[in-house]
């Protein structure tokens, strides 16, 4: 290795850093005790992914990717968190995170999932480039962790957050594999996400109004 970095070698290093940032945000997201902190870590994670897309777009001089990065940043780091915070304020629920599994345990499980995702990508796609592997494994890890959050946390509200982490994972997977889909599709997906958070927000509010609770323990009437 040469002691001074060259511009070509900067991109992988930058990607390394952003991926590390995203993963740390994810772990902190798992470890957060309060819903507000969880929303913030989600926003920070989305910011990392948007910056990643922007950086790769810059490196490849791809205007579409840059535009998309800006739109994703606005949608995922500003609008969705704002809506989520609005819902959180409107619904007078306990501000803490309630979980079926202890929080440190879920953090460790999250770490395990990151390792598993890494192991899987290394063995399924062994002859790919470093960047590909890294982003793919991050995307997979986010999908796994989002699923984990949806399964172990008690509140309906946290399920929304888990869903959006899964979505960020798919965003990352998309970047790793195809880099970018046709513009209109990407925009459509983002629009659906915004629509989704609105719909789920209203539903959470209505559930709260008629159940006086938003934990999933209450949502167990319908069976069989």
């Amino acid at each position: 290795m040469s002691p001074t970095p060259s511009p070509e070698s900067m991109l992988p290093l930058l990607v390394d850093y952003i991926v590390a940032w995203v993963l740390i945000c994810t772990i902190l997201f798992l470890g957060a005790q309060r819903l507000k902190a969880k929303i913030q870590f989600y926003a920070m994670q989305s910011l990392g992914l948007s910056v990643l897309l922007g950086a790769i777009g810059l490196a490849h001089q791809n205007t579409k990717a840059l535009i998309l990065a800006v739109v994703a940043a606005i949608g995922k780091c500003i609008i969705i968190p704002l809506i989520l915070r609005y819902v959180k304020r409107r619904v007078p629920m306990n501000k803490g995170v309630e979980s079926y599994v202890a929080i440190p345990t879920t953090m460790l499980m999250g770490g395990g999932m990151i390792m598993a995702a890494h192991y899987l990508t290394n063995h399924l796609f062994y002859n790919q480039s470093h960047l590909f592997n890294e982003m793919l494994s991050t995307g997979m890890a986010l999908v796994f962790i989002g699923m984990l959050v949806m399964m172990v946390r008690k509140k309906a509200f946290t399920q929304i957050l888990g869903l959006y982490v899964v979505d960020n994972g798919i965003f990352c997977l998309t970047m790793a594999t195809v880099f970018e889909m046709p513009m209109i599709i990407e925009m459509g997906i983002l629009f659906e996400l915004l629509l989704g958070v609105l719909v789920m927000g209203i539903l959470v509010q209505r559930i709260h109004d008629s159940f006086q609770a938003v934990t999933l323990d209450e949502l167990e009437q319908l069976k069989g």
Partner: protein, 322 residues
């Protein structure tokens, strides 16, 4: 000839320097913290006065204890002394490297900790026992993180000799600052605070019964053994500080025997220590001591950081061995 020279260097600048400077460093940390909080703080030489005081005092030992109680301070001192030979200061002579690397260092610290906790159980005092049980709980959390973080550096540099770490790290130039390095350094920093018994985990300055850990174990000691215990604890702190300093800023080590180079390296080393010390003091001032059951969450988080670091270091070196 070079071997003899390196042994001399080792004994003087690693073993000697550590034990000589550690009271000063401990007091300095206390003083800076006080200054940052708008207090006067102790004079810089307070650590030496304290040691002198302890060594002049009479030793009182409970008649319920066995020989282990009095042997422990010596064992502790010896363990820390051995560790001091493995950790680079401003010189890194390789002469004692064959003793071992990361594992030996971590387990020598573990040995010292074991004897300390065992001896604290001897007099049968309630606070002593509580201190040792807490110490062991934290130790189980510290050791894996410490090992994983140091393994990351080993993976990055292909050496597991602590003495060889700084030069191997600095040879990478600016490429050193990869996520793997950053994450491992962060994990190492957090776990070092725990290992040194600093604020978010333990408070070295108080004897508040409900929270004390290290102080609790020393409650039944007095006189010379107490002095020895404090001295070893401070030296351990110094050693970890210097390891941290040399990993965070692995530059400007003395590579030749010439006096000017040594002096320059010593100056750089002092600068590094001050930098790390200041970071620690600021962190300590900024955060409050944690409740004991939160400790495991923070250390768990740093464990995950260390795991992430290891993953990244594996990525960086081109995937898992096939």
């Amino acid at each position: 000839m070079t071997q003899v020279y390196e042994i001399v260097q080792s004994v003087l600048f690693q073993f000697g320097l550590a034990f000589a400077l550690s009271p000063l460093v401990n007091t300095a940390l206390k003083k800076w913290k006080a200054l940052l909080q708008g207090r006067q703080g102790p004079p810089y030489l307070q650590g030496y006065y304290d040691l002198l005081k302890y060594f002049r005092k009479e030793t009182v030992v409970s008649d319920q204890t066995s020989a282990l109680f009095l042997a422990t301070p010596v064992i502790n001192f010896v363990c820390i002394g051995a560790v001091s030979l493995l950790i680079p200061t401003f010189v890194a002579p390789q002469v004692f490297a064959p003793i071992g690397g990361i594992l030996v260092m971590v387990y020598l610290l573990g040995l010292a900790r074991f004897f300390m906790a065992a001896a604290a159980l001897e007099p049968g005092g309630g606070f002593c026992s509580m201190g040792s049980s807490r110490e062991m709980m934290i130790a189980t959390l510290i050791e894996p993180v410490l090992l994983l973080a140091l393994f990351t550096f080993a993976k990055l540099t292909n050496t597991q000799q602590l003495l060889a770490l700084p030069s191997a790290l600095s040879s990478q130039g600016l490429f050193l600052y990869t996520p793997a390095y950053a994450l491992a350094a962060l994990a190492l920093f957090v776990v070092s605070l725990a290992e040194m018994g600093r604020v978010p985990f333990d408070n070295p300055e108080t004897h508040y019964e409900l929270t004390m850990i290290h102080e609790g174990m020393l409650l039944e000691y007095s006189g010379k053994p107490l002095g020895l215990m404090f001295w070893s604890a401070w030296t351990k702190q110094f050693l970890i500080l210097s390891l941290l300093a040399n990993i965070l800023f692995p530059f400007h080590m003395a590579t030749s025997a010439n006096i000017a180079a040594l002096a320059l390296a010593l100056l750089a080393f002092i600068g590094k220590l001050i930098a790390v010390g200041l970071i620690i003091v600021i962190v300590e001032t900024a955060i409050a001591k944690m409740r004991l059951f939160r400790v495991k969450e923070v250390l768990g988080a740093s464990l995950i950081l260390a795991v992430l670091a290891l993953i990244f270091s594996v990525e960086q070196s081109g995937g898992l061995p096939k």
